[in-house]
């Protein structure tokens, strides 16, 4: 499959590339080139530019959107919301039927969920809050959802909270109750590219990409059930007594 990766040189991108490069033909794009040499072609693409996204999408079978901007008011809207609009337009225009979008957990389940509830699943009405990062990503996800309702394009929205390398963290060091290892995160993208689209419950599905967490706050059950996600890295030791 020819896969366009937008935001390929950020924190998550290299791990996704590592998980996919033996299985798919990758086109890496970002506003900055990769730090290390890569065998994959690279294009400079600003996701907020419709023209650049359209050009990069030509001939692709799937788009992965890993782009993100958290703090600057204007650029956050440009990247997180308008960027999704550009990607979905490009997907429709080029007949690309599979998009994997990404965002933080509070794209859907903001502080009103996290602060109060347990057993939180991704299939709840979005309450992102007014936090700039959360709201702009949530607007982007909503744009993806609306496009999927009107066009033959499937969107898998992967939500993350924190990433850890299990080799770099200590027993008992704790953390937020929604963590995944970089390797398992990459594997989730391989699964998302390989699942047959008609096996998805709808054309827009949201997944929590998380290891099995002992707190029972955010649940990865849907990701396991629908995508066949089986996180290899057990991170529960983060909350076990040293």
């Amino acid at each position: 499959m020819k896969v366009l990766i937008i935001g390929a040189t950020g924190y998550l991108g290299p791990h996704v590339v590592k998980a996919l490069e033996d299985h798919h033909q990758l086109l890496l794009t970002d506003i900055k080139p990769p730090k290390e040499n890569t065998p994959h072609p690279f294009q400079r693409v600003d996701v907020s530019s419709m023209e650049q996204v359209q050009r990069a999408a030509e001939g692709m079978d799937a788009i992965l959107n890993l782009s993100v901007l958290r703090e600057h008011r204007r650029i956050a809207f440009d990247v997180n919301a308008l960027g999704c609009y550009n990607i979905m337009r490009a997907a429709v225009d080029h007949g690309i039927r599979r998009v994997i979008n990404t965002g933080p957990h509070f794209t859907i389940t903001g502080p009103l969920y996290e602060g109060i509830d347990h057993g939180i699943t991704p299939d709840v009405p979005p309450h992102p809050s007014t936090i700039l990062y959360a709201l702009t990503k949530s607007l982007g996800q909503e744009i993806c959802r609306v496009f999927s309702q009107h066009h033959d394009v499937y969107v898998l929205d992967y939500l993350f909270y924190n990433f850890r390398d299990p080799k770099q963290v200590k027993r008992g060091s704790g953390g937020v109750p929604f963590i995944v290892s970089w390797d398992d995160a990459g594997e989730a993208f391989r699964l998302g590219l390989e699942i047959e689209l008609d096996r998805l419950p709808s054309r827009c599905e949201i997944f929590f990409i998380s290891a099995d967490m002992p707190q029972g706050k955010f649940l990865n059950e849907k990701t396991r059930r629908v995508l066949g996600f089986k996180p290899k890295d057990d991170l529960a030791f983060l909350w076990r007594r040293p």
Binding site: R73, F77, D78, A81, H127, T130, L139, E142, V146, H150
Partner: protein
């Protein structure tokens, strides 16, 4: 420097010296100060005229235009100009029309980023209420024989003008959810001027612009409380003319806002 020169220097336009102007200037100093966005548009001007009878009204827009009300040009960016714009304002009527001829990018940007900047500044300035003017085109995806009330889920299309309004609602809703602002969404039909459409076949979505102004006035005065159809901080109302063949029921606006549609095409 007199007040007029001072205000003009600050980007505030005051025109003429008629009694209407004096009324407008006087009303701008009343306690109930209302800020209306997209002041360049005819709809904003009609709303200002209606509200200006008994409220202090100020207009803002991306481009300054002559007005009998104080007008401040503002890009609604994340900056001190937006912060200053909302100082001393009790309520905002966010008409939220993108500039004429705006492309898809500008339409979405206007309804999301600028709306967010405005709402954020409003919260910081202690503004109590924001009226967001949306569109009933969000609801036309349902079968025409359904009586679609405000409790039905919006069905936005990917047409930028419709999608952008939906995203504007989405943005405002979070401010209401966090109880930072009272938000009233008025979903308008297709806004027309009665004289301009006289003799034409009626569109089931028509709403006369003065009806909109009347609904806005009602929404500014409405008492918000917990209610079976919505919590006090977030309310949505259908606003369109009411005539044989009109598309959406307006009973809730009539009941809660005192809306009295009169236009019969």
């Amino acid at each position: 420097m007199n007040r007029r020169h001072f205000l003009q220097g600050a980007g505030i336009l005051l025109t003429g010296g008629s009694s209407l102007d004096r009324e407008a200037q006087a009303s701008s100093q009343n306690e109930r100060r209302i800020l209306i966005t997209s002041g360049e548009t005819e709809l904003a001007q009609v709303i200002a005229d209606h509200l200006g009878r008994d409220r202090g009204v100020r207009l803002t827009g991306l481009t300054a235009v002559p007005s009998r009300f104080p007008f401040t040009a503002c890009q609604l960016d994340h900056d001190s100009a937006t912060d200053e714009l909302v100082q001393g304002v009790e309520a905002i009527v966010h008409v939220a029309d993108p500039p004429a001829g705006a492309g898809e990018r500008e339409q979405i940007d206007h309804l999301t980023r600028r709306t967010y900047n405005l709402a954020r500044a409003a919260v910081d300035a202690g503004v109590e209420r924001l009226l967001f003017l949306s569109t009933l085109e969000l609801m036309t995806g349902y079968d025409e024989d359904f009586l679609v009330s405000e409790r039905w889920r919006p069905l936005p299309t990917t047409q930028p003008s419709v999608l952008a309004r939906h995203l504007g609602e989405y943005t405002c809703r979070e401010f209401a959810r966090e109880q930072k602002l009272q938000v009233i969404v008025l979903r308008l039909g297709k806004v027309v001027k009665a004289a301009a459409v006289k003799g034409q076949a009626a569109d089931p979505l028509w709403v006369e612009e003065r009806e909109v102004a009347q609904a806005v006035a009602g929404a500014l005065d409405a008492k918000l409380s917990d209610h079976a159809q919505g919590v006090g901080r977030w309310r949505v109302f259908n606003v369109q003319s009411e005539f044989p063949g009109s598309r959406f029921p307006v009973a809730n606006a009539k009941g809660a806002l005192g809306y009295r549609p009169w236009f019969k095409p």
